[in-house]
């Protein structure tokens, strides 16, 4: 299958980017990233600069691959990361527009690669448990009701890819932050620091310049891991209660 690609090329963080057009020969069993590998091979052979894009596990679990494909983060398939998207969902002759995730808090480093360190700083602000909770066997000695464990696990499925920010019309990071808060907050080990955690993570999220949540739920619709916006409501509750219960300003 022959595809026309319109890809965002940008030399570095400070340069102005723009779209470049390419054609590539792909086969239906390729993944989207393999199709880009073929394009890059082609560019290298022509002594052109290959397209920079992020990838790591290519199994849909690491959260490294990003890019917005025809207006959708991770492309058109629900609950699917870019690396798990396959070319069989496209037809011969299709035009595909590929852009980086866009938000002031995710500056473009090069081409389709963006800097998501703002997420790391939100985690550093409180997305952890300060005491040593031991290894897996130690965790298993604490009985946790199945429904709570499931809620925690559903939130822990967040791979921190940033598709929520990319999809949100306000570039809000609420779904990511809420997933991390819910993941730890549903477990007894995470309960002790929950109030301070919520306050500090939200303060950092605001400081990073993400927009405010306006409940459009585009994040939930585009999340490759199906994180529910109910986590955002839970974080809101926890935040309002933290404001009146913690000693911190």
């Amino acid at each position: 299958m022959k595809l026309k690609l319109k890809i965002w090329r940008q030399k570095n963080q400070n340069s102005r980017g723009g779209f470049s057009n390419y054609t590539v020969e792909a086969s239906p069993e390729m993944s989207f990233l393999e199709m880009l590998d073929v394009l890059n091979q082609q560019l290298i052979e022509n002594k052109e600069e290959p397209v920079a894009f992020e990838h790591d596990c290519r199994e849909g679990i690491c959260g490294t691959c990003s890019m917005v494909i025809n207006g959708q983060p991770h492309g058109p398939m629900g609950l699917t990361t870019t690396c798990q998207l396959h070319m069989r969902h496209y037809k011969d002759g299709d035009t595909i527009v590929i852009e980086p995730f866009r938000a002031n808090s995710f500056p473009v480093i090069k081409d389709l690669v963006v800097d998501r360190a703002s997420f790391d700083r939100i985690i550093e602000a409180g997305g952890f448990i300060s005491v040593n909770t031991g290894q897996a066997p130690d965790g298993n000695t604490i009985p946790i009701e199945q429904d709570e464990a499931k809620k925690s696990f559903d939130a822990a499925a967040c791979i921190g890819c940033g598709a929520c920010v990319a999809a949100c019309p306000n570039s809000s990071a609420m779904l990511f932050t809420a997933a991390k808060v819910a993941h730890l907050g549903h477990l007894p080990q995470g309960q002790v620091e929950q109030s301070k955690r919520v306050k500090r993570m939200i303060a950092q999220m605001d400081k990073e310049g993400f927009g405010n949540c306006s409940n459009t739920y585009a994040c939930e619709a585009e999340c490759p891991k199906g994180i529910s916006v109910a986590n955002i409501a839970k974080m809101n509750r926890a935040y309002f209660s933290a404001v009146v219960s913690t000693d911190e300003k």
């Binding site: 917005v68 808090s105 999809a167 409940n215 739920y217 585009a218 109910a230 839970k234 509750r237 309002f240």
Partner: protein, 228 residues
Amino acid sequence: MSWITNFLTSSLGKKLVMSLTGLFLIIFLVVHLAGNLQLLFDDGGEAFNIYAHMMSTDPLISVVAYGLYFFILLHIVQGILIAFQNRGARKVKYAMSNRKSNTFASRNMMLLGLLIFFFLAVHMGDFWYKMKFTNELDMVTYAGYDAAVRDLYTRVNAAFQEWWIVLIYIIGLIALALHLWHGFQSAFQTLGLNHKKYTPIIQGLGKIYSIVIPIGFAIIPLYYFFVK
């Protein structure tokens, strides 16, 4: 006091203000509609004029009314500030974006809000301002009611004979319906009320409310224009 300013300037604090003022306005709309439906009585405006007199003179209602003006302004100013901040959070826009992942109303709350605001300016300028600050309206008396009251009914009747005023009302009410379509359930989500037990009920009530209330209001100008 800095914990209060920290809270009110945080993204969640700002949203809480939007949610609570929005819910207050949602309650107000029910009361306002209930009062206005008296315009449909075939009594030459007696019930409506007496009601309007009571609404503009009762001291308790005056206190609530000043609260209402304040909350409307707070909702508007805060909403505009949030919307501009949100737009500014993505300086380089997408060449292509997916419109299916959210609703038109949820993306355009500021635009819909501004349409409602322009409608409100026309609406209040025509009735509220003339009732409270001018002597344009004639005084009438009714048997069984001691005080002479302003004849707001005649002004309403005259306004709703003008096609362009009726059109402004219909546009304003369509904007209101869309604003509520997103705003009703959104207010509860912001408060942290989202659970599979009751969220479907809130969403259902929100949809019914955002259709029934604007239609209730729209009946009045349409009835005066086409029937009376």
